[in-house]
């Protein structure tokens, strides 16, 4: 359990450092084209080779990491914000309102999310900001359900009833009792949510509906690579591995945290 | 009478991590004669349920088991799963606490009773099976056996569920019935009915009965012989009717903890401290930390089992009674 958390964290921190210090790590520019250098295989000069426009793939991946990671993070922040608020209100207030709010979630859940995203992107245009907002706006339902379930469970728990009986004020009950006890599941969701959002973004970019050139993202490097699959394997391999490693380590981290917050496992 | 159960130097440990073990049972020696009715009394975590399931070698994967258990002179611990089928159900029937959880919720009572008989007795005629099943339900005192037979577990009350469990446990006509806290989750009035039923069946079927319970008074209802377990060890074994017959300080305390309703004292006997950590393998008397009579010797060495009156007691300074 601890091993999973640490492995996940270390890989992630490594990627984050690469993304933040991209300009210091690579001396190339991500958008300067040089047709004379196009489709060069990996070498000491270009360790991940060059793409069809002669740009350094390694550099593009560094900057792509910025895009992919921040799209994932920001989209999840939006989703978490909406979802936590929605779920908490629904669970805390309960009754008819809860019933209506949850039926709305049911409805949204029957519409395949990716179709919804596809539709919205076409309407709004595939800018980075739009992608973040769209992924954020379409993926809050899971967290809303998790938070609602947790709040309901806690609300009906004996320890909330006893807190009321000893006359603790509402703010203490809300912060120290309800929020403190829902943080675990929310954190777990955030981690899994980021990996999900990164996958969605890369999928969209791969289809040309995501981040638009010249901005690099792991998905659109793959997209341009797909036409050169016979000749330039490095365009496919490296960005794919990067996405896989990021998502894998996020999922590892999420799994580890889920176990960590599971009181059943803790008691033993 | 011959011994139907002979347990010798039985030890059971549960591995919980690479360097931690729970010592659930330590050097258990117990002989039970055919037709005897014995209660195994102890608090939760003392190993009494482990003792019950050891008799049919039904222990979780992380268990290590040493020593010897003989049922009708046959060693149980050497048997593989296939050979154990001759013991489980056929020699020893077993019922558990929370009858609702002991029945599979997605099969009907009919299916659950009949499948054992069908597979083990190789009877496939539907009418014969049904007849056997209904008769079993009648035998355990179920009046509307036809309705119960077609029901699913969740449609029955706790008392009925436990009766069904007893019927299933008896379906292969075992010689021994082991009842592990059979009434703990039931109401008092239902508890009394179940105990009545066990008494009746014991006589009718000449069953050797072993009742596992935390309630000494309940044990006295059904059994002559009481075996008291504390922290994985048998501390006293014998014919105990009241606090006067108790020679181990723990047994005596158990009588006084919940005073019965014969005399009112408005005071509860308190055994100080908490139940010991079963992850330790004691080199001294396991009760010495809580015993009001303990002396330096008790805290340093392990007592041997001695005979006091009609009882066997594991204590350096057994009470005279």
């Amino acid at each position: 359990m601890k091993k999973m958390i640490w492995t996940g964290l270390i890989v992630l921190i490594f990627f984050i450092i690469l993304a933040i210090f991209a300009p210091f790590i690579s001396s190339y520019d991500y958008k300067t084209q040089d047709i004379s250098l196009r489709l060069q295989p990996p070498s000491l000069k270009h360790i991940f080779g060059t793409d069809e426009l002669g740009r350094d793939v390694f550099t593009r991946m560094l900057y792509g990491a910025r895009v992919s990671l921040s799209v994932g993070l920001l989209a999840v922040i939006i989703a978490t914000f909406i979802g936590v608020l929605y779920g908490a209100v629904s669970g805390y207030l309960g009754g008819v309102l809860d019933n209506i709010m949850m039926r709305i979630v049911d409805i949204i859940l029957t519409i395949p999310v990716l179709f919804l995203i596809l539709m919205l992107i076409v309407y709004l245009g595939p800018s980075i900001i739009n992608i973040i907002i769209i992924i954020g706006l379409t993926s809050w339902t899971d967290i809303a359900r998790i938070v609602r379930a947790e709040v309901l469970k806690i609300k009906n728990s004996a320890f909330i009833e006893s807190a009321k009986l000893i006359g603790l004020p509402k703010r203490v009950i809300i912060f120290k009792y309800i929020i403190l006890n829902t943080l675990g599941p929310i954190l777990v969701y955030i981690v899994f949510g980021i990996s999900g959002a990164i996958l969605i973004e890369s999928g969209l970019s791969f289809l040309g509906l995501g981040v638009q050139p010249p901005y690099p993202s792991w998905g659109n490097i793959l997209m341009s690579g797909k036409d050169y699959i016979h000749t330039a394997w490095w365009l496919i391999l490296f960005p794919g591995v990067a996405i896989f490693l990021t998502v894998f380590s996020l999922n590892l981290l999420g799994e580890g945290l889920r176990d960590l917050f599971n009181p059943k496992l803790k008691k033993e | 009478m011959r011994n139907i159960i002979e347990i010798k130097d039985l030890c059971v440990n549960y591995k919980i991590s690479s360097n931690e073990k729970i010592y659930a049972l330590k050097n258990i020696n117990l002989n039970i004669k055919k037709g005897e009715t014995v209660a195994v009394v102890g608090e939760s975590g003392c190993g009494k349920s482990t003792l019950a399931v050891s008799m049919i070698k039904l222990l979780p994967e992380n268990a290590e088991i040493f020593g010897s258990i003989k049922i009708d002179n046959e060693e149980i611990l050497d048997k593989n799963n296939q050979q154990l089928l001759d013991i489980r159900g056929k020699k020893i029937g077993m019922i558990f606490q929370e009858p609702g959880a002991s029945l599979n919720p997605v099969f009907s009572i009919k299916e659950q009773i009949e499948e054992t008989i069908k597979i083990r007795e190789k009877i496939s005629n539907k009418d014969v099976l049904k007849n056997i099943g209904l008769n079993l339900l009648k035998e355990v005192g179920i009046k509307d056996e036809k309705r119960v037979y077609e029901s699913y577990p969740h449609q029955l009350s706790g008392g009925l569920q436990q009766r069904v469990m007893i019927a299933i446990a008896l379906s292969l006509s075992p010689e021994i019935l082991v009842a592990d806290e059979p009434t703990t989750s039931l109401d008092v009035t239902v508890q009394a009915q179940i105990i009545e039923l066990l008494k009746k069946l014991k006589i009718k079927r000449n069953l050797t009965t072993i009742l596992i319970t935390h309630d000494l008074h309940l044990a006295l209802e059904l059994c002559e012989r009481i075996v008291v377990i504390y922290a994985g060890e048998i501390v006293e074994d014998g014919f105990i009717r009241s606090a006067k017959d108790a020679h181990h300080p723990y047994t005596k305390a158990l009588f006084e903890i919940i005073p019965d309703i014969k005399k009112k004292i408005k005071k509860f006997k308190v055994i100080k401290g908490e139940f010991p950590d079963m992850k330790e393998n004691f080199k001294n008397c396991s009760f010495s930390g809580r015993c009001e009579f303990s002396k330096a010797k008790c805290r340093r060495y392990q007592p041997e089992v001695v005979r006091v009156g009609k009882n066997y007691v594991k204590c350096f300074y057994p009470l005279k009674g």
Binding site: L165 | D187, K266
Partner: protein, 262 residues
């Protein structure tokens, strides 16, 4: 003696909406119950599962709102409008593990209500917390533990200590020992006896175990199907039970001396 609690014709019905069946079912959990408890007594409500004993207790503690009837506490209609009034009746849940916030240390669990009700802080607060720990027989090292690090008996003591911090007049305990081992049971019951004797707290205990009642309570209320079957002084009820139901309960006690009289 003065009546601390008076309950008149209390009713509480629940409707169970059965999702898969046709009609609603109404459960009369408490169905017209009247009784009173004197100050300084230990009273017990006894009944089998489904008798409505817990619902009745929850109505008195203000967790459930009764449908009909009235409850008087210290001569006045029950009222929890101020925190002063709230703290006088305390309730101990059957599920002790669930009634403690798993993410708060025991020291804090006890400090919270004291801080809020008595405006204590700093050293004084710490002293007070230790005092209550001592009162329930725990040493002060326990302030650093989380609930899941305690044994069942220790948790029950913390729960009792938390209720005591409110300096209640009436302490209601719902099956306080049913999940505990016999040796721990006795410790907790003895603690209740001492609290009643030394601190003069009136105690209302909900239980299914008549053996406990006999040795603990001064006054007994026997309930069945939401109604009171009989009530009276413990000795009277045990010596001379009037209803068949009570007689049957007494006979059902393991190793019961009533069995031979039947």
């Amino acid at each position: 003696m003065i009546k601390i609690l008076q309950v008149n014709n209390l009713k509480k019905y629940f409707s169970i909406e059965k999702i898969f069946s046709e009609k609603e079912k109404i459960v009369k959990a408490v169905d017209g119950v009247s009784f009173s408890i004197k100050k300084g007594q230990i009273a017990a409500i006894v009944g089998e599962s489904g008798s409505g004993k817990t619902t009745l207790a929850r109505c008195i503690a203000g967790i459930e709102i009764p449908d009909e009837g009235e409850i008087f506490f210290e001569g006045k209609l029950l009222d929890f409008s101020t925190k002063e009034k709230r703290r006088k009746i305390q309730y101990i849940f059957q599920d002790t593990y669930g009634s403690l916030n798993p993410r708060i240390k025991t020291g804090d669990i006890l400090a919270e209500p004291i801080r809020y009700h008595f405006n204590l802080s700093g050293e004084k607060l710490k002293e007070k917390v230790k005092e209550f720990l001592k009162k329930v027989g725990l040493n002060e090292n326990f302030i650093k533990n989380y609930p899941h690090e305690l044994s069942g008996g220790q948790r029950q003591r913390i729960v009792i200590a938390r209720a005591l911090t409110m300096e209640p007049k009436l302490l209601i305990a719902d099956e306080p020992v049913s999940n505990l081992d016999v040796s721990v049971q006795a410790q907790i019951l003895q603690l209740f006896l001492e609290l009643n004797l030394k601190d003069k707290i009136t105690i209302l205990i909900i239980t299914h175990d008549l053996r406990i009642v006999y040795n603990l309570a001064d006054y007994v209320i026997v309930m069945k199907d939401g109604k009171i079957i009989e009530s009276g002084k413990t000795d009277t009820i045990f010596l001379n039970p009037k209803s068949d139901y009570t007689k049957n309960l007494l006979c059902s006690i393991p190793n019961s001396p009533y069995k031979n009289q039947k």
